[in-house]
Symmetry: C2
Subunit: 237 residues, 2 copies
């Protein structure tokens, strides 16, 4: 039986003890039935892995004593995706869960001309990221940023910049074109794609056009395929 | 405005005319507001692409006259995935939708020792495959087979056979190990993984162990990553 992993967003790196918030305490004590003396793991979402022992199995304020702290290696190079959020919230929430499981460092809600969703429910989405991080046994929480306009994102200076669009122009397969070992940003457009002007703007800024395959993918599927291929590409090193 | 694509499962390859079923007729006439004289596309799910013109815009029995038939190239080599269905139906339904969008030819519900879901709602799942095929503008419907026991699947003689498991044994990255150009079958286990006995059985039958990454993936996520990487690998040819 492997150890349970809980989220401790506000734990200090040098903490000797920690008290879980009410939700986490309830999950730990009531749902998972942990008791005083049980050994558990804590993640602060910033790469620290804490081994702890339950000292008070209070279902509202579960306290633990920290026995060990480990700094996990940061995912490198960094993968960033700027993706136009879908009108249908469940589709993008599904994307956030899966992208976190597979491994992504930064997610930027991209507001392009044809984007239909410009606001996000930050707290709700944050909870989805946390659950996926814990579920996939990771210790770094992806950075979900505030929505940003296309004009701002297109000016970012990531070492490797890619754009996946649907115009029948010269494009190369993402997994064949991308160079591993470089911090990378990819842009994924809305249903209805980027406008030709946006695509030209991106190319002028040094973004390289890539294709994700031969079928027409929904936005959230395109995002997932991009994260999967970029992540696999980085592991080739 | 691109042409609407509708499913015509029972159309004859040499048909001169066709009448849509009630659901499709309603969708075509009431929802999409198509009228007599409009040109539409039909897919039979077996690779035929029909160009047709609406001759009777009846919202219950929409009839069309076939103007052209095209045989689309079959996806080759074939990708087959045998995956243990999840207890939570929505997770595997999501997998079926996405795997179809990205491109998969055969899906086998795999019943292994730790599989918690042995029955499937064939009709409901079939509808999900059809919707995803049309949405992604494809003309071949994936073959969703009846659930099969591990013992039967492990005896299949696909040219390339892979198994993704979580035991810390020697494994290579799927996208680096897989050879493009070969019909391929991959096995994806249940939450809780295959049993060591099942893994040994598969290896003895010539299945090669592969890893899908460094994080711990849910069953449906592992399936999606596998389909994405296999599909990309085949396009390297």
């Amino acid at each position: 039986m492997e150890q349970s992993l809980f989220y401790a967003p506000d734990i200090q790196p040098d903490a000797a003890a920690y008290t879980m918030n009410e939700d986490t305490s309830k999950y730990c004590i009531q749902v998972l039935r942990h008791e005083k003396g049980d050994s558990v793991l804590l993640a602060d979402g910033r790469g620290h892995r804490f081994t702890a022992v339950i000292t008070d199995d209070n279902r509202k304020r579960c306290s633990v004593s920290i026995r060990q702290r480990e700094q996990m290696p940061a995912p490198s190079p960094a993968l960033r995706i700027a993706i136009s959020f879908t009108k249908n919230a469940s589709r993008i929430e599904w994307f956030l869960e899966k992208a976190t499981e597979i491994g992504i460092q930064t997610i930027i809600p991209l507001v392009s001309q044809r984007t239909e969703k410009e606001k996000i429910k930050a707290e709700r989405l944050q909870n989805i990221l946390v659950a996926a991080m814990l579920q996939s046994k990771q210790f770094y929480l992806p950075d979900l940023q505030e929505p940003q306009p296309f004009e701002k994102v297109v000016n970012s200076n990531d070492p490797q910049k890619l754009i996946a669009h649907c115009l029948p122009e010269q494009k190369r397969e993402l997994h064949q074109h991308m160079q591993p070992g470089k911090d990378t940003l990819i842009l994924i457009g809305p249903e209805g794609d980027f406008t030709p002007e946006e695509i030209q703007q991106a190319l002028a800024k040094g973004f390289e056009p890539v294709t994700l395959g031969n079928t027409r993918l929904r936005t959230e599927t395109a995002g997932l395929v991009a994260v999967t291929l970029m992540n696999a590409k980085q592991r080739e090193l």
